[in-house]
Amino acid sequence: MKFKILKALDVAGLQVFDPVVRLICGENPPEQFRKILLFIGIPIITFLIFIGIWTYLAPRHTTKAGEVPTPGVVKNAADGIWVFHVRENQKAEDFLLEGPAREKALAGVQARIAELTPLASAARTKLGELETASKSQIDQQVGPLQEKYNALRKQTRADEKAREEALIAQADSLPIGDAKARDAFLAKVSEHEVKSGTEKQALKDFKSTIDAAYADKFPEMESVRIQYNAYEEELQYLSKRLDYLTEGNQSVKISEGQSELVDLQSAFLTAEGGKATLKAAEKVLKQEESIARIAESSYSRPWTFPRQIVRSVACVFVGFFIGSAIAIPLGVLCGISRVFMAALTPLIALFKPVSPIVWLPIVFIIVGGFISDPETAFVHPAFLSSAITVALCSLWPTLVNTALGVASVEKDHINVARVLRLGFFSRLFKIVLPSALPLIFAGLRISLGVGWMVLIAAELLCSSEGIGKFVWDMFNNGSSQTFAQMFVVVFVVGVIGLLLDRIMIVLQRSVSFDGAPTAI
């Protein structure tokens, strides 16, 4: 059992947890503690230091989207993203509920609203009280300061004026043409200006202390405000749910439509006269059509971040598979045939360094030529173009590695094939491909990593729904909350990239026949 777990950890590239497992099994605890400290403790400490530096530095830089978010703010933003996602799912579910389930959900929502309303109003009154209290407190604090400031300003102005007048009087008596006397006067004027400057600065400083007092935040008030906002938000969400459980509900809408249809049908049955009958018939048909439309309709769910993540991962895999489907056969041909290799080398060398930013617009236009109407198309052209861009940028490592792997099959193994007179295909599938497989997978692993990096940029540029689009939307929103959500994206992208890499490592190891440890 223990060795099975250790083996699994080893294959998954998670050897860091090896000492933990050994410790649980009671194998040489001091040694395991030392290892845990080294492989788990130190990374955690580093991470904490990183968080600490971040927390310290972030509030010290103010941007037009507010302060740079601290880890706490980013955590809140992440929670917010998740709550939004859960709520949207709930609404979508509500839209489709019918019968007793709908009534039960309705009762639940109503109960929650009844529970929350008094809390919210209490919070509101409390907030109002605190606001007036804080205002009066500020006024008290600021009142004397303000008076002092006013007096100081008056004094300064008077001083300045007096100095100016004295200077004018002096200037009146200056002899004309006396350069020395005029130089002395110039020095005096300059002295006067410097003095006015320092006085003005002192006034400004004073003023800013008053402003700071106004901006003083009362922690108690802030927490009540946050609480109140949370109540209000939930209430709003509940009222939306209420709507989807009653008037906006699909089954309710259908039953309403159907009762209307019954009326219309009976009207049609009893209609008299050509014109009226025709009109009644048209009405019946129209109503039937509208019911069918409602039955087909679904809740128009917005693209929440988790859904965009799923879409991005789907997109990267589509691109990755397209890329691999091109790269592996081409690589095998390159490895087998020198002619083919010579033919492809210039193309590979030319296209390999091209940036995704260049490929994307080209691909976008070409794909757009095939798909005229994005709404009815089987795949959205933006999705397809990002996938193809991923494919174009990620196929090179696989291609080169496959060619290398196929070309460098051990000569001994080729000799075996020659002695046995294996045919082309059994030589390919029994000797060449298995022996090239570890290198091919190493290439695939690099490709997937490249693809994931390219994808985010591609989505951002061609606004295909996904993580890249999310970042772009958040950037355009420009509020402090969306700023924090962009930080969440950084971590999500990192974690998913890491997971993709781990998956590839496991695959790579499972095909590597010599059991050689793969570089992590």
Binding site: N415, R418, V419, L420, R421, S435, L437
Partner: protein, 283 residues
């Protein structure tokens, strides 16, 4: 007639161009005839072209001049009728022992049923003493065991000629002795026409019917051919106790020394019959 001249190597030449574009004849005029079921050892200093001759017989190395006829047919490229056991086991690491042997069997017996092929594979593996390790991967086995698989793979092909290219070269001496006994047993029983490349005189005397001593390269050729007249089946201990063994051994070492001396320009070398394989009686 064919049985007496089962394998005929006549005037075999291997030439490589040197960096100046001149032709260097590594092997020059190698002549040898093998009877059916005969075990021939090829011995010589390293680098004299022993392996080149063997790979040419196997068809893995192009023949520059001369010809090789096996069972009345001139060879053309490699084929399963001339099975090779290399110095390295050359097993495919992604296949089990069984699969490694089966790959060749499938190729040689295309019309046999699955059951028949299975029997062949299992038999040849049990001959080399690997009946228990049939489903192991090469990385799970020692070098000696891997080499046994290589031998099993070769004999499973039922080859006309078995070519052994220093099959014990990379093994420690204990494993080497074990494996020599395994091969000797197979040769005693199956009577496969065999060519063994070696640079170990004891091994050559112990296993072969005739030993072909090669001169030093370049222009390597057959120096002397010596018959070893021990009865088969042979037994290592018994052979070691005979006087003949030491005479054969003396003669071989003498030849090798002479070759070395000639290389340094110290003395002539005795050629018996340059074009026809000579049978030298000792004793």
């Amino acid at each position: 007639m064919i049985d007496n001249r089962y394998v005929e190597i006549s005037n075999l030449v291997k030439a490589y161009p040197n960096p100046f574009g001149e032709e260097i004849r590594v092997v020059d005029g190698f002549n040898l005839t093998m009877q059916k079921g005969e075990v021939i050892g090829v011995i010589g200093h390293s680098g004299c072209g022993k392996s080149t001759v063997l790979t040419m017989v196997a068809g893995l190395n192009e023949i520059s001049d001369g010809g090789i006829v096996v069972a009345g047919k001139e060879i053309d490229g490699p084929g399963p009728d001339r099975a090779v056991v290399f110095q390295a086991p050359c097993l495919l690491p992604w296949m089990t022992t069984f699969q490694n042997v089966m790959m060749g069997v499938k190729q040689v017996y295309p019309h046999a049923s699955k059951q028949q092929r299975r029997v062949i594979v299992e038999y040849s593996l049990s001959v080399v003493g690997l009946a228990d390790a049939m489903h192991k991967y090469p990385r799970e086995m020692s070098g000696g065991m891997q080499q046994r698989v290589g031998i099993a793979r070769a004999i499973a092909l039922k080859p006309k000629v078995l070519l052994l290219d220093e099959p014990f070269g990379r093994l420690d001496s204990l494993t080497r002795m074990e494996l020599q006994d395994v091969i000797l047993g197979i040769l005693d029983r199956e009577k496969i026409t065999t060519m063994i490349i070696t640079h170990d005189p004891d091994e050559a005397i112990f296993m072969c019917d005739r030993i072909c001593m090669m001169t030093n390269g370049p222009h390597a050729r057959v120096g002397q051919v010596m018959s070893i007249d021990f009865e088969r089946p042979r037994n290592r201990e018994e052979i070691m106790e005979t006087d003949e063994f030491y005479q054969y051994r003396q003669r071989l070492l003498q030849f090798l020394d002479d070759c070395e001396a000639e290389k340094h320009g110290k003395g002539p070398i005795r050629f018996d019959q340059p074009t026809e394989p000579a049978v030298v009686q000792v004793g």
